[in-house]
Amino acid sequence: MSLLNPIVNILPDLNKAFLETIYMVGVSLAVALLIGLPLGVLLFTTTRNLFFENGIVNRSLGFAVNIVRSIPFIILLVALLPLTDLLTGSTIGPRAASVSLSVSAIPFFARIVETALREIDRGVIEAAIAVGATPWMIIKDVLLPEAKPGIIQGLTLTTISLIGYSAMAGTIGGGGIGDLAIRYGYYRYDNTVMITTIVVLICLVQLLQMVGDKVSYMVNKR
């Protein structure tokens, strides 16, 4: 009883933090998919010998992606506050945190998509070109389906990284499980909270990894 009590006490907080994490990770994952996926496809299809071959676009995008990846997350968080304000009308809270999480997830995911696309057998792409398919058809019907297992594993990796980064969202009041661990476990020496939240985090990550592996295996027809 005495052991369980503290855990029961933090359940409402934990629940709220959990939902906040889900919210932030969910939103930024969606954005990463929405923007990172096309960006990854673009990075891939503008390389040498592919149908959108364009060295300048390719190098500029690559440079932009590297820049975002160079900036420490906290700085990015701050640098993006005007954008955040513009987009969400606020610079604090989970919604605001989602903006910088999204921005940092986009290049990360784009690179992963690019790598997954690189794994596709060139012959398959050529066969689609030879058949007279439009670039759009090739992307939709060949590139994405063929890279699906890799992209799903990349999505798992991105999700797990986002959970890690979302812990820093506490800086701007984003909340979430990681922030709970830091604020109560670390600042307030509450080991119950610390251990509970970390266990929740580990379970979440393992679960995501398992589901990701499973889905990736299922869509793999090779």
Partner: protein, 338 residues
Amino acid sequence: MIEIRSIRKEYVSKKNRVIGVDNVSLTIQTGEIYGIVGYSGAGKSSLLRCLNLLERPTGGNIIIDGIDLTSLSSKELRKQRQKIGMIFQHFSLVSSKTVYENVAFALRAAHRSKDATKLRVLELLEIVGLSDKKDVYPAQLSGGQKQRVGIARALANEPTVLLCDEATSALDPTTTKAILQLLKKISSELGITIVLITHEMEVVKELCHRVAVMQDGRVIEEGPVYEIFSQPKQELTKQFISSVLDFELPSHLIEESEGTIIKIQFEGQTAGESILSDTLQSHAVKGNILHGKIEYIQDVPLGILIIELIGDAVQIHSALEYIKNRSSSVEVLKHVTA
């Protein structure tokens, strides 16, 4: 008609420049089955891939049925490509799509309606004998079955030209035969022009009307298959043909034989003639066929027989003269004047 005009293809990398195709010009007639042979690295694939601009040539023009492909916009090029089917050596099927979807993809690329697509795919799968595998993924097919899906895809849009890059190597003989039969049928029934790369001279012999031999990016010999097989000019061509036509007589046979051994090459109609039978009936010699092969190349026979002639010297001499008069090539491998 495919006109290949002074095609050059260079591969430029940071370190060096490789010439894949070196100024090749060829004309391939409509309805023809055209073979390309050569060593690995000779530039066969590079040339073939230039035909539908999968590889953009560094110089030269590809003119198919009067249209210069190299001058087309990418949209027009896509349209032309739909008329050029291509069969890939490594099948190159989309592994995440079923057999049906793989073939349907080509039709959708040509903006066929959904119903038309369905009808056509089922028809094509029927043709290649894969109707029962339509919902199966490529990973569950054997090599021959995968290749047949590739053929169905290449044929989907009723192409006028079919390009095949080593479509049968690595397949067992039965499957190879079935696929060659299919290509033959397609060519004769639908009048499709077929350009095929192979390293099996058997395939050239059975299937092709004309053949080009490539070396170091250039075409070193070209002509009707029968001509190339019967009168090869280049050393390389001879080597290649020998895999089909040449044969070695076990050496002990030559040593042990008691008679005169001659090698006769028959060409064209002479092969069908009864040289041997006439000789034997008009001379008092015994003929013993030690080795021989008659190939029908495009229905024209080309044959070599190694015959041991036994009899007295005068008769043999006169028999030899008789044969020489009627055959294009006679060679005496061993002369015995017992």
